[in-house]
């Protein structure tokens, strides 16, 4: 070799090295795939003086190649898909020279049988090929040229892999940003909903958050409350579905249903309004709400993660809505309790206070109500002619209905008291009124009587009440005061109530009570207090004052039932002095 040739080669190789160095520096900094490919093509074409070249990129998913960039006449257009049946050995080969290497290849560039393929690959990944047409002078590529393009291909491959990774990272980052934003939305709304008590506002915000976060235009929300399924809000829905359609949607087995042709046929509403998915929402494992969503306005399909978000937001809204119902129930309950308290104080006002006293009689009376308002009644009144009227009664049932009836009875008694009617006539009238005014299952057991302190006569009528006990002075066993007639309110008065008169004497004891005393249950609920125990208790305390006897009975009953009172307890104790 002579010196000038040597010098020229040296010069050339230095130029090539410089090109490679500059290119690699440029490419490494670039994350733009387009820029990388453009450079690869232009440098190769310029260096080798070829007029046609392209880069085809391998698509592993579909096992085809796509023309990513092409330059020169009659090249396949960018984006065209090419299909080869390469063996894997080809994908590993660094350089393939058509017409020289023993590899069968289809015609890649039109009318070209001398093209050269350079493999674009990283250490573990086949990216595609750089495909060069023949040189202008139709000479094969020299080993030197091949070596140069191979080096360039390696540098470019790394740059392509980098830019791909960069793009992927950017996408992942964006996805992550979206996820973070979704979580923020859920977090913010949970705070917002928490302070909202207006159900309509929660529903409205829920709708807007759905629409905004997911780019939805068609939306509906069905809520079940107390057996009623109702469309509570919609967006972009032309006509509401009928009740049957809603029921069908509630019966869908899966909580997430993507609408298909079958479902559209079954429920045309879904097709008419372009609903894509229906999500069932549960509260305490009961499906009580449905959310229907149309397509996303940006054309993207719903991903599993999107559905998760829709469901989470739906559950959050549902929970907040249920909370408002519970809150309303509580307010309603409090209001009711307040009213009951008022009712109780009114009822208390209907009972005599203070208990009228008489020089010849030692009287004690007590009513202990088990619930806020009760059905027990007692009264002690002085008649215009200075006699004393005692009454005790028990209305069937408890609560407001019993209390109303008790108030009714009290009013009648007080109206009848000054009029000149006998006990029997009065009882008959009261019975008729109660019978006509109340439902068939409402009765009153009732006992009343009048004591004349002067002649100590006691005239009474018992209308189905537990017979009061009359302990005569010196006798151990009581007389039961039973005479009278039917329980009040059972039927109209046909036969008059029978009055009975007894004469009391000094030391006699009368005990009137309601079944709250004798039917008080022990703690196990297996035994009633019973008349035996009542009798014994009275006998034990007989010498004491009426107030003491009354207290002894109450103490005994409370001890027996361990303080658990299930019915009203009313007692009147009268001692004749």
């Amino acid at each position: 070799m002579n010196r000038s040739v040597n010098q020229q080669e040296d010069h050339q190789s230095r130029f090539e090295l410089k090109t490679l160095l500059e290119t690699s520096r440029m490419l490494v900094e670039s994350q733009d795939m387009d820029f990388v490919l453009n450079n690869l093509l232009l440098i190769s074409m310029g260096k080798l003086m070829v007029s046609r070249a392209m880069v085809i990129i391998y698509q592993p998913a579909s096992d085809i190649y796509e023309v990513s960039k092409s330059k020169g006449q009659h090249c396949p257009p960018e984006g065209e898909r090419l299909s080869f049946s390469f063996g894997s050995d080809v994908k590993e080969q660094s350089v393939i020279q058509c017409g020289i290497d023993d590899i069968e290849l289809p015609e890649l560039l039109e009318g070209e049988d001398r093209c050269t393929l350079f493999n674009l690959q990283t250490s573990n990944n086949h990216i595609g090929f750089l495909c060069l047409g023949s040189k202008g002078n139709n000479q094969p590529l020299s080993p030197h040229e091949i070596e140069f393009i191979e080096s360039l291909s390696i540098i470019s491959s790394v740059a392509i892999a980098n830019s791909r990774m960069f793009t992927e990272l950017r996408q992942i980052n964006r996805k992550l940003d979206r996820k973070v934003y979704e979580l923020n939305t859920l977090f913010d709304l949970s705070k917002d909903f928490n302070i909202m008590v207006d159900r309509q506002e929660i529903i409205r915000i829920f709708k807007f958050a759905m629409l905004g976060q997911m780019l939805i235009r068609k939306f509906f929300f069905v809520l079940e409350h107390e057996g009623q399924r109702e469309m509570v809000t919609t967006s972009g829905i032309r006509k509401a579905p009928d009740v049957q359609d809603i029921d069908t949607l509630f019966e869908l087995e899966e909580d997430l249903t993507e609408v298909d042709g079958d479902l559209q046929n079954a429920i045309p509403f879904l097709e008419e309004n372009e609903i894509r998915a229906v999500i069932g929402l549960r509260f305490q494992s009961e499906k009580i709400a449905l959310v229907g969503v149309g397509a996303r306005a940006n054309g993207e399909a719903y991903s599993p993660s999107d559905y998760n978000f829709l469901r989470s937001l739906g559950n959050l809204a549902l929970l907040s809505i249920q909370k408002t119902y519970l809150l309303e129930e509580r307010i309603e309950k409090e209001r009711l309790e307040e009213e009951l308290d008022i009712a109780k104080s009114i009822q208390k006002g209907l009972l005599p206070d203070p208990i009228p006293q008489n020089d010849l009689l030692d009287i004690a009376a007590r009513n202990i109500s088990s619930s806020q308002v009760g059905g027990d009644y007692f009264d002690i009144l002085e008649t215009p002619d200075k006699r004393l009227l005692f009454a005790i009664g028990d209305v069937t049932g408890k609560g407001i209905p019993a209390a109303l009836l008790m108030a009714n009875l009290q009013a009648m008694l007080h109206v009848l008291l000054p009029t000149d009617v006998t006990l029997s006539e009065a009882t008959g009238q009261v019975n008729n009124i109660i019978y006509h005014n109340t439902p068939a299952d409402k009765f009153i057991t009732f006992f009343w009587g009048v004591i004349d302190p002067v002649d100590r006569s006691f005239r009474y009528i018992n209308a189905g009440h537990n017979p009061p006990l009359w302990f005569k002075a010196g006798a151990d066993e009581p007389v039961e005061l039973e005479e009278g007639g039917l329980i009040l309110g059972a039927m109209a008065t046909f036969t008059p109530y029978q009055e009975q008169t007894v004469i009391l004497s000094e030391g006699d004891l009368l005990v009137f009570y309601t079944d709250g005393v004798t039917e008080a249950m022990n703690q196990d609920g297996t035994e009633e207090f019973g008349e035996e125990r009542l009798l014994k208790c009275i006998q034990q305390h007989r010498p004491k004052t009426s107030t003491e006897i009354e207290q002894a009975i109450i103490d005994r009953v409370m001890a027996f039932s361990q303080g658990i009172q299930s019915d009203d307890i009313t007692l009147i104790v009268i001692k004749v002095d």
């Binding site: 913010d188 709304l189 915000i205 958050a209 629409l211 905004g212 235009r217 993207e300």
Partner: protein, 119 residues
Amino acid sequence: MKNLNINHRKVETYEVLELAGELDAHTASKLENTLKQLISQKKHQIIVNCEELDYIASAGLGVFMAYIEDVRSMGGDIKLSNMNPKVYNVFDLLGFPTLYDIVQKEEQAIQKFQTDESE
């Protein structure tokens, strides 16, 4: 308490809504009412100027979704302008730029309306 102020003014034949403050779950209905009112008065060339808007939440974005169809079906549009980067980021993250004209300046929104009309 967070708040949203909406100032309504007219530029030529266009309705400009200037939003100031925060558009979130609590204030979304305020914007909703304003939009509803405009739509009921058949004013559907609407520009929402977000110059003073500091924050937007999903519920706020939802209001735009809920009424865009109504407005467009009447031949109008809602165009958005003058967003700060933070607010734009939210719109962008959720994909709004593919569905709405979001421009830098209010005047550009007006120009867009004019080119829309001449088409």
